[in-house]
């Protein structure tokens, strides 16, 4: 077995030598144009952009802060600038089916022109029609029709009035109709005068009255027909005038948009509608001059009539997507991807207490705006907005954007609304999100892999070689330039690189989580205000790191206080049998720290079971339980291959009131157990971390730096004696990026870090006794740990055999008595 030597200070921290950089400050460095440390993601995004077939949308996945969105957007923008600008989209009124507005596509820039032309057309139409309906010709022709109608009406009444007069009656207007009254000299007879008439005259009058009334009824029955005829003639006149007035305006537009059949069709429909709606224009003109509604009823009746403004609104153009001024294809990032913000919406306005809408209230969604280009969305936001994911998938699957309200989509609302014609969709969508979302969608959504065929996996770490450190310096320079920070000198750059390695817990790797690096740069810039150098130095970076830790480490301080005040018992000197200092890591948001835990083991005569008390009370996670079972396997295979173990052992994390998980304490538990069995005490000035396998090999664990620092802080506070130290798996040495105070303590021989490959090495360090190698018969020397363990196990086995024999004899005696 290889002897264990504590690590040299140089192995505890991999420095980034400022001398390797040939610049003074980041001002001397150009921006980094490539995406650092993401070759796989870059290739995937480029592939996704290049694939024009449907379904090759991109899911950019990886931890937050790795620059997923900016990488995707910059690639999209680069490609979009070389592509053709997509067409404009307009919605216009559908004259045959008003609830289904028509979508018209026009080359970019022409949409705005059409809208402007139609606004001008409406303005000109207003003035042209006003002039036409005020012209002498129109007045004269209308009056002629009116006069004819009135004369017909008057003539029919004049005839009956004359006959009535001849028969002794006059026709009187009542508030609600007409009535014949017997009269003399133009005055109605009083009842007395009528009664005084000879009976013959009265009867004659009564008979004549019947006939006159009947005749009057017949005449009045013709009035509606006359009125209808009049209306038809007036309408025909209006249409003739309107057709003449509008013809020139429409012809001009038709010539301009001759190359666009959809526009020409719309213009023809407008012309037909203007002629058809002539009555609305003239009514509206008359209304403006005459009407002075004095009652609510009158006001409502006026509103219910289609007014000129409502009629003219139908000729407007709703420019949904205006790509005028856009060079290349659009790249849209939708920050709030609600269902409506994605697929568009039809807005409503309140009118007399009711919600009404029309095609001008159709608003585009980001799918409309990105049509012909690229759309970037945050996957988590899309999935957390009701129905946004369904809406997006439907649009991508059908390759068209159909604007439906959620009420319509869910069929819970059946009120009349608009059904705008769907717009054909050609868009490349990139969803940006963490890996868990990608895997969940891939697992549970059958559409997902069909629609998002390209996964761009962003790595959170990159190799820390010389070339990458140079590039990292340029990345730092780029972020400094972008955020207008003070220049970083090369010492500061080196310190940031070192911290980046610490962030990923690996001296040979660097973090690609640019967001955290950018935060550190900004905070270093803040602390550099007072240094008077005008540049950011390594000391400023260190100050920023320390300040970050200070802001987050309230709980760590409390935990350490409880240990130092002996509330939470951790011994850091002397020796104890069956007791060891394990190490765990507590993660709080973005901050983690190490905490020592006291692990104890007790053994007694038993049947070979190792009881994990944490597991018994359900405070143990599955990985921890697995670790305990592994150490049982190790014990059995090493010391008791031929016969069963005759002991029962119990293991416990003392003063642990929350769950324990992970197998990083399994080596510590094994050491405690070996100590308990062998009755050899363990030095309490040491702490242990490391997982074991069934052969006793010590395996790598996470959070090694925090664990070491956590124990160091306790020992340091109590006073370093030169005996303190931590046993770590040898495989974790490459992850060491320890604090400077730890390194100084190691340099001065006050603190030790032992890289352990096998438990035999560890137990030697912990007890000061040799572990012991087995001889040819598998026996260990008696003065070694293994020898003592074996001896104790044999002693227990013997006791157990004696006990069993006594029991057997007792049972046999009882049977004989019977």
């Amino acid at each position: 077995m290889k002897a264990v030597h504590p690590l040299e200070a140089g192995a505890l921290y991999t420095r980034s030598d400022p001398a390797q950089f040939n610049f003074e400050t980041t001002n001397d460095l150009p921006d980094l144009l490539e995406n650092l440390g993401q070759p796989r993601a870059v290739e995937a995004v480029s592939f996704g952009i290049g694939m024009e077939q449907a379904g090759y949308n991109i899911f950019a996945m990886g931890p937050a802060g790795t620059g997923k969105r900016s990488l995707v957007q910059s690639h999209f923008t680069g490609r979009a600038s070389t592509e053709e600008t997509p067409p404009d989209w307009c919605y216009v009124y559908n004259f045959s089916q008003p609830h289904k507005p028509v979508a018209i596509s026009l080359p970019h820039g022409l949409g705005a022109a059409l809208r402007q032309d139609m606004d001008r057309f409406i303005e000109e139409l207003r003035t042209t029609l006003k002039a036409a309906f005020e012209s002498d010709e129109y007045r004269a022709r209308r009056q002629a029709i009116e006069h004819e109608y009135q004369e017909k009406q008057e003539k029919s009444l004049e005839g009956i009035q004359q006959r009535a007069q001849e028969q002794g009656f006059i026709l009187i207007r009542t508030p609600a109709g007409l009535v014949f009254a017997p009269s003399r000299n133009g005055e109605v007879l009083s009842p007395e005068e009528f009664q005084n008439l000879p009976e013959e005259d009265r009867k004659r009058l009564e008979a004549n009255l019947e006939g006159l009334q009947e005749e009057l009824q017949n005449i009045l029955q013709t009035v509606p027909r006359l009125r209808r005829e009049f209306q038809e003639r007036v309408e025909a006149l209006h249409q003739e005038i309107t057709n003449y007035s509008v013809g020139g305006l429409v012809d001009e537009l038709q010539r301009k948009y001759a190359g666009y059949p959809a526009v020409v069709e719309f213009l023809l429909a407008v012309r037909a509608d203007v002629v058809q709606s002539a009555a609305d224009f003239i009514n509206s003109e008359e209304e403006n001059t005459r009407s002075n509604p004095e009652s609510l009823l009158a006001a409502m009746m006026t509103r219910n009539r289609p007014d000129q403004a409502a009629t003219l609104k139908r000729y407007q153009v709703n420019l949904l997507v205006d790509n005028q001024g856009l060079n290349g294809a659009p790249v849209i990032y939708e920050d709030n991807p609600t269902y409506q913000n994605l697929v568009g919406r039809v807005e409503h306005i309140a009118q007399l207490g009711a919600l009404v809408t029309d095609f001008t209230l159709i608003k585009p969604g980001s799918l409309h705006l990105a049509n012909g280009g690229y759309l970037v969305l945050e996957a988590r936001k899309v999935l957390s907005e009701p129905y946004a994911w369904e809406g997006l998938k439907r649009a991508l699957r059908s390759q068209q954007v159909k604007i439906e309200s959620l009420g319509q989509m869910l069929s819970v609302i059946s009120t009349a609304s608009l059904e705008p014609e769907p717009v054909p969709l050609r868009v490349k969508v990139a969803l940006v999100g963490d890996r868990m979302l990608y895997y969940l969608l891939a697992q549970y959504d059958p559409d997902f892999e069909e629609l998002f065929k390209v996964q761009a996996d962003f790595d959170e770490i990159m190799e820390r070689d010389t070339d990458n450190q140079q590039k990292y310096a340029r990345l730092i320079a780029t972020l400094v330039h972008r955020d207008h920070l003070r220049a970083f000198d090369r010492g500061a750059v080196a310190r940031v690189i070192e911290h980046s390695a610490r962030m990923v817990e690996d001296a040979e790797r660097l973090s690609t989580e640019v967001r955290d690096i950018a935060n550190l740069l900004r905070e270093s810039d803040y602390w550099s205000k007072e240094n008077g150098n005008g540049v950011v130095t390594a000391a400023d970076v260190q100050k920023a790191i320390d300040a970050q830790i200070y802001r987050a480490d309230r709980l760590r301080q409390r935990v350490q206080e409880t240990i130092l005040r002996d509330i939470f018992i951790i011994k850091t000197q002397g020796s104890e049998v069956g007791q060891i200092n394990g190490l765990s890591v507590i993660q709080l948001g973005g901050f983690s720290f190490g905490r020592p835990s006291r692990i104890t083991a007790k053994v007694r005569l038993g049947k070979g079971d190792v009881a994990d008390i944490e597991r018994e009370v359900d405070l143990s996670g599955p990985i921890h339980s697995k670790g305990v079972l592994i150490l049982s396997g190790f014990l059995g295979s090493r010391y008791s291959q031929e016969k069963p173990l005759a002991l029962s052992a119990s293991l416990v994390f003392e003063q642990s009131y929350a769950g324990v998980d992970g197998d990083s304490a399994s080596s510590a538990e094994l050491y405690a157990l070996l100590s308990a069995i062998s009755r050899v005490p363990i030095k309490q000035s040491l702490a242990v971390t490391g997982a074991i396998d069934q052969n006793g090999n010590v395996q790598a664990i996470g959070g090694v730096n925090e664990k070491i620092e956590g124990f160091f802080d306790i020992c340091n506070a109590r006073g370093l004696t030169g005996e303190h130290g931590v046993l770590i798996p040898a495989a974790n040495v490459k992850h060491l990026m320890l604090r400077q105070d730890v390194i100084r303590a190691v340099e001065t021989g006050k603190f030790f870090i032992y890289p352990i490959e096998h438990v035999d090495q560890g137990i030697e360090v912990l007890t000061g006794l040799p572990a012991g190698e087995p001889d040819q018969d598998g026996k260990f020397p008696p003065d070694t740990i293994n020898g003592k363990v074996l001896a104790r196990l044999e002693e227990l086995a013997k006791k157990r055999e004696e006990l069993e024999a006594a029991e057997r004899r007792k049972e046999m005696g009882e049977q004989e008595d019977k």
Partner: protein, 280 residues
């Protein structure tokens, strides 16, 4: 001539109300005039005695204009209808009067409509009435015709839907009534934008020039914009066409026999679409 010279400045304007659309339009025009002249509005609703008498006869059936159906015509129902109309007329007058901050009064009388209106007109300076009552006929109705011809002083007849506009048309023949008409035009245009179209009615050019010079003196004193048209005596039928071609917003006419024959006046009332203001 100045305002002080005008013994017949309009201070009370009578408006005949029967709640018909035509009379309500007349009410709006009367309110407009009252506001311009700072006059009081006097509303009068006449319960037609002929209708009440007829109802008492219990003989006739009323024929609906809209449905042409016949129904019984009794006193109770006609009284209810008349009272309802009177209330409606009063409400309209109150509303307009209050909105225009006008002095106003309202009265309901029973009798023959034309007689009652003429009697009431004796106590006011002008009467404003709709041209055609309940029908929208172009020709003047019988009641309006009687009042227009017999009203003692000013009578203003409105086609349905018309209102006082500009320019102001004036028929001038030099008669005392024409001079009063000229003064009324001056009052109407006082402190307002607009101009006067004076249709000089004369035997020949010399008389026309003289009349024009008379008008000119007045116009200069009142600082009015003016435009002259000459019409030869005997060609009065052309007046209606002239009013139309000049697009007059109101026509002020001297309504005495010496100024215009009765037939010409009736012709003008029938033909002209703008309000016609008869001055005696």
């Amino acid at each position: 001539m100045s305002d002080a010279d005008l013994p017949d400045r309009i201070r009370r304007i009578l408006v005949a109300l029967d709640a018909s659309p035509s009379s309500l339009a007349a009410l709006r025009a009367a309110a407009d005039l009252a506001a311009r002249l700072d006059a009081e509005l006097v509303g009068l609703f006449v319960e037609d005695i002929n209708l009440l008498r007829l109802a008492d006869l219990n003989l006739a059936r009323e024929v609906s204009i809209f449905t042409s159906a016949g129904r019984l015509f009794d006193r109770q129902s006609i009284e209810q209808q008349l009272h309802s109309q009177a209330r409606q007329a009063r409400r309209a007058l109150a509303q307009i009067g209050e909105r225009g901050h006008l002095r106003w009064s309202f009265q309901v009388v029973q009798g023959i409509i034309s007689q009652e209106l003429l009697q009431a007109a004796e106590n006011t300076d002008a009467i404003v009435l709709g041209k055609a009552g309940w029908s929208h006929r172009r020709q003047i109705g019988s009641t309006a015709r009687t009042i227009a011809m017999l009203a003692p002083r000013h009578a203003i007849v409105l086609q349905f839907g018309s209102h006082f506009g500009i320019p102001v048309g004036l028929v001038y023949d030099g008669s005392p009534a024409a001079q009063r008409a000229l003064a009324s035009a001056g009052n109407l245009l006082e402190n307002r934008e607009g101009f006067l179209v004076v249709m000089i009615l004369a035997q020949g050019a010399e008389e026309a020039r003289q009349l024009q010079s008379e008008v000119g003196d007045f116009v200069r004193r009142h600082n009015l914009h003016i435009h002259y048209r000459w019409v030869a005596r005997g060609d009065e039928v052309k007046l209606a066409d002239l009013v139309r071609s000049e697009r007059c917003g109101v026509l002020i006419v001297p309504a005495t026999r010496e100024a215009l024959p009765e037939e010409t006046l009736l012709e003008l009332l029938d033909q002209v679409e703008c309000p016609v203001w008869l001055v005696r």
